[in-house]
Symmetry: C2
């Protein structure tokens, strides 16, 4: 568990930035100390690394969050795009170096604005972003959340937590019990109503995220009582089997 300063020193990300990422829900600390200090673990660092990768490619932070919090997030596709974009950027830098050297050593003054023109890169970047937004999942999310105030979004998120909270008193029953299965159904319905059509496939993904031992697990357990997250995961697993 590292404090903000330690994370900052290790990663080069400013403390303010960590605060910022916390406040917009992009990177929540793994835990919060008695005194309210943010504490980050290895898993948070991993997420941060991923965030930085997207950020390096000029993705808006909000989109980074949406992408990474989505249960159908395809890491491989992301990396592939990222590599392509990085290679474009490298080419861009090479052009600039060539240009600068030309001006410097030969006094060339020919206008080579191609060197500065980032439109091709921006275009690819835009297309990459679009390729994420083009998934039906994203579309639906967009449609359901367009024109919603921050408080309303907050309310939806809290509503989701409440639905998950319903699992809490059922923990002593088997995951396949009718009560638990009904709760899974309600969770799926809530997701479908407020986020995107939650197919069994996506539900499965959600279950993995909740029970994976990561920040999702911890957040749920902290809010709804220890073991809730794992129980939800088990119930979902039973449901989708």
């Amino acid at each position: 568990m590292m404090t903000v300063r330690q994370v900052s020193d290790k990663t080069g990300v400013s403390i303010r930035t960590l605060h910022h990422y916390d406040s917009i829900g992009l990177l929540r600390p793994s835990a919060v100390s008695e005194a309210g200090y943010r504490l980050y673990d290895e898993e948070a660092l991993e997420r941060l690394q991923c965030i930085l990768m997207f950020r390096e490619l000029q993705f808006p932070l909000k989109e980074i969050r949406r992408i990474m919090d989505s249960p159908d997030f395809d890491r491989n596709r992301a990396l592939e795009q990222q590599i392509t974009l990085l290679e474009l950027r490298r080419e861009h830098i090479d052009h600039l170096i060539t240009l600068a050297r030309g001006v410097w050593m030969l006094g060339v003054k020919c206008m080579d604005f191609k060197a500065f023109d980032t439109r091709k890169i921006d275009e690819y970047s835009e297309q990459a972003r679009k390729s994420w937004r083009d998934t039906p999942t994203w579309q639906e999310y967009e449609q359901k959340h367009s024109g919603l105030s921050d408080e309303q979004e907050q309310a939806i998120a809290e509503g989701l937590m409440a639905v998950i909270g319903e699992f809490s008193p059922l923990r002593d029953q088997p995951a396949a019990s009718p009560a638990a299965q009904a709760a899974v159904k309600r969770l799926q319905d809530y997701m479908t109503a407020h986020y995107y059509t939650c197919t069994d496939q996506l539900l499965k993904g959600l279950g993995k995220m909740y029970g994976g031992g990561g920040s999702f697990t911890e957040n749920i357990n902290q809010a709804c009582g220890d073991g809730t997250a794992e129980f939800v995961a088990a119930a979902i697993a039973a449901y989708t089997a």
Copy 2:
């Protein structure tokens, strides 16, 4: 002479950005049409190229302006730094590509934050900026303009134009005439009082800028009457001889 759209299309810089650069005095249009349209010539494009080079290196726009408007602006030193910085950035990108490929193909999860850490680059960048600010010229400017409102800065700039305007009625006299030489002296004093100690050396640089046929020349001639800029340049040349 190109309109904003044409410049935008050729360079990839947005129209809004051109407006902005005009409004902060970073890139003034070479001329303004009857109807107030901004018109840019080749020389403006050259300046724009230089601006973009600095911008690529994260210099704040205000500093870019100060640097480029200074008569002791050493373009070669600038280029040298720029090349170094670009090479650092290239190295950075290479690291990122390596990292991304590693994660992608080998599933490596080791935290290599060095790849994201831009502190070395920022550090060099900062040092580069500092190296411009460390000239006595800059120091003095900083000291004389610290705590001045925008209007006051404006007033000083207008005062300078007024001093230059004094040359206008002397244009039919020889550049070495006592009246012209006295005007040069007043110009030098004004610069020293409100900008930086204007040595004969710097004065010479100013003269070249004014008479060089560039935007300075045009601005002066537009404000004070055709031929004024060239006359000032000649008077300064006579003075520093």
